[in-house]
């Protein structure tokens, strides 16, 4: 198929950002600390707000690119992966790790400064497809053991705070923009979100 229509996805990123609450971070690429949400008294409202801050990472292209709606990974700013990759046909024929190795690989090519890499580079399972989903839908999918790889909340925290493939997003290499903040700060936000009831946004 030839897709000539406009990309809808950037609009979702904007929607995600709109959920972030009142006080902006100190620098645009920082993540707010969990403590800065203490001003929200109601735990559920605070929980939702914390997820909104988490969404600045979750809905960033560094993460969404490997959580596509179809079995075709994306690259850069949610653009079609080039060379084309469709894991519905290639899952046995070509591993991601054929080109994406254990570390970012700098090139001497002008337009592609680096080939991203981290050990075990792969596409998220289809049950974890996030592109095109609202923050609420992503949150619900994240918490659903049937879709999140049978994880409980503690396991979700460990994945977000410790997993090295998740951690790549903060050190993508080349000219790729990293996700905001640090993995440690992100992990702290996830813990605070869990502690406040792991509430999902309203939309």
């Amino acid at each position: 198929m030839i897709r000539a229509g406009a990309l809808l996805l950037p609009a979702l990123l904007i929607a995600g950002a709109a959920i972030a609450t009142n006080a902006p971070p100190e620098r645009a690429n920082d993540l707010r600390s969990p403590e800065s949400f203490a001003t929200i008294a109601d735990p559920t409202a605070r929980s939702r707000a914390l997820f909104g801050e988490m969404a600045r990472v979750i809905e960033h292209p560094r993460c969404l690119n490997c959580h596509p709606a179809t079995r075709e990974p994306l690259q850069r700013d949610l653009e079609p992966h080039m060379p084309p990759v469709d894991m519905t046909v290639q899952s046995r024929a070509m591993e991601c790790q054929t080109c994406h190795h254990d570390a970012n690989t700098p090139t001497y090519a002008g337009g592609v400064a680096s080939i991203p890499g981290a050990h075990g580079w792969k596409l998220a399972p289809a049950s974890m497809a996030w592109v095109g989903k609202s923050p609420r839908a992503i949150c619900e999918a994240l918490k659903d053991p049937a879709r999140n790889g049978k994880r409980d909340l503690a396991a979700i925290h460990e994945h977000m705070a410790q997993d090295h493939l998740v951690g790549w997003a903060w050190h993508p290499g080349g000219t790729l923009a990293p996700v905001p903040g640090t993995q440690a700060r992100f992990g702290a936000l996830v813990q605070a979100w869990i502690d406040s009831g792991a509430a999902c946004p309203l939309d």
Binding site: M1, I2, R3, A4, G5, A6, L7, Q75, E79, M82, P83, P84, D86, Y108, A109, G110, G111, V112
Partner: protein, 714 residues
């Protein structure tokens, strides 16, 4: 990949080792021994005692299959056996290997077969006559009783391999005016045959220029200025030369040459160079600004040159119902899959260069001039190229000159192999020129074209020499394939504005047919709609003077079932064009919506005169269709607000992939006894227009610019 060691008569040995494999079936596992010394040598062929026939191809095979095609012509008249035929590139030598129309040794315009047809038939027939005479003398039989077919010389009950008589034939005088075969008797030309280059290409043994691996060869890359037209002020090679494997850094006219042990060393060294550039005369406009300047030039200045037939202007001004269309065509890069490359060595006052040369005479002359050597001291080994689409033709200082400058700067200390990386290639200029087209027409009450006007702003793809006066007639680098040259117009004008742009133009597949043909075929469809006439019927009515275009149009309509309604959900468009004396019509059928469509089928009808090999026509048609769709759908070279090229590789300069290819391509060849004409370019022209016509039939808004799909734009 085995190393290719070049001996003294290296090019023949290398080529023969490489190409002899081409005569074997895929089942053969052992590499062939070099052919034995030829016993019979003429300008276009030589014959060994074992019957091997080697054809010297004066043209470049860039994947279009021309080496097999030229060899087939010789083999046919000679009576050779196909699996004993090999092809090597002819040396660069004038006047022996001149293109009989263009006058120098060069390849282009889909004319290789057409200009070689008579010449190679004569060469094969002459050799046949000499072999027959030698056999007649040996066997003491009348020469008229001797026939040669399938590699065997026969008279009555006697027969022997034609190699047997090669040495004796070489001692005979060369006859003139030898009669040629009746085409009705052809057994090689017109038949499907295994292409001679296929086994090597399947096995990865073809020796492209990029594969040159002479002993001691070093890799060469060149740092170009970031903007077109900038020149080097100063550079610091210290950091580069400190890196292991970086051997030399030399300024050359187009930038800085970096020599390394391997390409990786050279690229690494290049990345460590510090250079400052003088950009006072560089092109720093964006492509958007350049197109805006084109529009201003068309609207505000008289044309550089124009031609008129009758008085179209009066009718256009008087009539209120002018139909008008404007199209913007972007710069296009050719992106041949083998990166631009050339190898060379210089010693003892002789220079040997090896590449897929497309303009041998020009390349050789430039090298000789740069080195201060006589032309005869520069030897070109022309090997197959991995694609060209016009890029490897010589129009001004280019990559092959860079290699020669580097040899000169290093005094031939090492053999060198230059490569432009894909990024270098895409950002390297030498593009299909950006072109603005405006077409206007008035129809009479019968729907015929009472007045027509075509206005074009664009650089000619054959660059004008620096300082040359402005042309007085529209340049053929802009006008080939224009509307009024093919469709009947009662009055017409063709106007051209020559823009000053600091981006190097270049010939691109189908020359200016690739924008004229598309503009013409979209516009004529809109005229048909305005006249209320079926698009095929309307075109036929305007092509009374072009029966061969009418022929392919009728053929494609028949094969596409044009007179039958389409299945629900399908839409279709048609286009026809004459290019390089061949005629092509295509119908494109699509499904889906204008935002999300699939190309279901392309039906193609082609009249290229007498066909050398139908498989080559099919493969060129299919390749042209993929090529034309790639450029129409995805491709543009854009420069940002400071004049930097924004594209760099196949992720942002896209080519069609398998999922986007038409589900079916059907090619129908018009039977013809006319002189053979070309197929490498003509089928690339109509497909974009036929697709647009299908999209507009589907309800898409009128197309005004290419590519059709742009990042982030619906």
């Amino acid at each position: 990949m085995s190393g290719l060691h070049l001996a003294r008569r290296g090019f023949l040995v290398m080529s023969s080792t490489g190409l002899l494999l081409g005569t074997r079936t895929l089942a053969a596992a052992t590499p062939a021994a070099p052919s034995r010394k030829a016993a019979f040598t003429q300008r276009f062929l030589e014959i060994a005692p074992d019957g091997t026939v080697t054809v010297f191809a004066k043209h470049l095979d860039m994947g279009q299959g021309i080496w097999s095609g030229l060899a087939a012509i010789v083999a046919e008249e000679l009576g050779a056996r196909w699996n004993q035929v090999r092809v090597v590139g002819a040396p660069a030598r004038m006047p022996d290997y001149a293109h009989t129309v263009f006058g120098s040794q060069t390849t282009g315009g889909s004319t290789s077969i057409a200009n070689s047809w008579d010449q190679l038939r004569a060469a094969g027939a002459t050799a046949r006559a000499m072999l027959a005479a030698a056999a007649a003398a040996r066997w003491q039989v009348p020469a008229a009783s001797v026939s040669i077919a399938d590699g065997m010389v026969t008279s009555g009950a006697r027969s022997a391999s034609l190699g047997r008589f090669a040495a004796a034939a070489a001692r005979l005088p060369v006859p003139g005016n030898v009669p040629l075969k009746d085409p009705a008797q052809f057994t090689i030309v017109g038949q499907r045959r295994p292409r001679l280059d296929l086994p090597d290409k399947v096995r990865g043994r073809t020796g492209y220029g990029l594969d040159t691996n002479w002993p001691g060869i070093k890799a060469l890359v060149v740092l170009h200025p970031p903007r077109f037209g900038a020149t080097l002020i100063d550079h610091d090679p210290t950091a580069a030369l400190a890196l292991p494997g970086v051997l030399a850094v030399e300024p050359i006219p187009t930038g800085l040459a970096v020599i390394g042990e391997t390409t990786w060393h050279a690229l690494r060294g290049r990345a460590a160079l510090v250079a400052t550039w003088d950009e006072t005369t560089a092109e720093t406009r964006s492509t958007a600004a350049i197109m805006a300047a084109f529009k201003a030039q068309m609207a505000g200045e008289p044309p550089t040159a124009e031609t008129r037939s009758g008085d179209a202007a009066t009718v256009l001004e008087a009539d209120g119902s002018v139909i008008e269309a404007q199209f913007e065509f972007p710069y296009l890069a050719h992106v041949p899959i083998e990166p631009l490359s050339v190898a060379g060595r210089l010693s003892g006052g002789r220079c040997v260069l090896r590449s897929g040369f497309q303009s041998q005479t020009s390349n050789q002359a430039n090298a000789a001039r740069i080195l201060g050597l006589p032309v005869e001291a520069v030897e070109l080994e022309t090997v197959p190229a991995g694609g060209s689409f016009g890029r490897r033709a010589d129009f001004g200082p280019d990559w092959f000159d860079e290699l020669v400058y580097a040899l000169k700067a290093t005094d031939g200390r090492w053999p060198l192999r230059l490569m432009w990386s894909r990024d270098d290639d895409i950002a390297g200029g030498h593009y299909r020129p950006m072109t603005l087209q405006r077409l206007r027409a008035v129809l009479d009450e019968d729907g015929a074209i009472a007045a027509f006007d075509q206005s074009i702003v664009g650089q000619p793809c054959f660059p004008l020499p620096a300082g040359a006066p402005k042309p007085k007639e529209p340049s053929i680098g802009v006008t080939i394939g224009h509307f009024a040259d093919q469709y009947a117009c009662q009055a017409s004008r063709l106007a051209w504005w020559y823009p000053e742009v600091g981006v190097a133009p270049h010939t691109y597949r189908a020359i200016s047919n690739n924008h004229n043909g598309i503009a013409k075929e979209i516009f004529v469809d809109r005229l048909a709609r305005a006249a209320g006439v079926d698009p095929v019927a309307y075109r036929l009515s305007l092509l009374g003077h072009e029966p061969r275009q009418q022929g392919v149009l009728r053929l494609v309509a028949e094969k596409a079932g044009w007179d039958r309604p389409l299945a629900p959900g399908l839409h279709r468009g048609v286009a026809v064009h004459r290019a390089d004396d061949s005629h092509v019509a295509q119908v494109v059928e699509i499904s889906g919506t204008p935002e999300h469509f699939r190309i279901e089928r392309v039906v193609c009808a082609i009249d290229c005169g007498l066909v050398i090999d139908p498989d080559t026509v099919l493969s060129q048609a299919e390749g042209c269709i993929g090529f034309g769709l790639s450029s129409a759908l995805y491709q543009e070279i854009t420069m940002d607000a400071s004049g930097l090229v924004e594209q760099s590789n196949f992720h942002d300069y896209r080519i069609l992939r398998m999922p986007q290819m038409p589900r079916r391509i059907e090619v129908h060849i018009m039977p013809s006894a006319a002189r053979p004409t070309g197929v490498g370019e003509p089928p690339s022209v109509p497909v974009a227009a036929a697709l647009v016509n299908a999209l507009e039939a589907m309800g898409a808004p009128p197309v005004t610019r290419f590519p059709l799909i742009r990042k982030g734009v619906a």
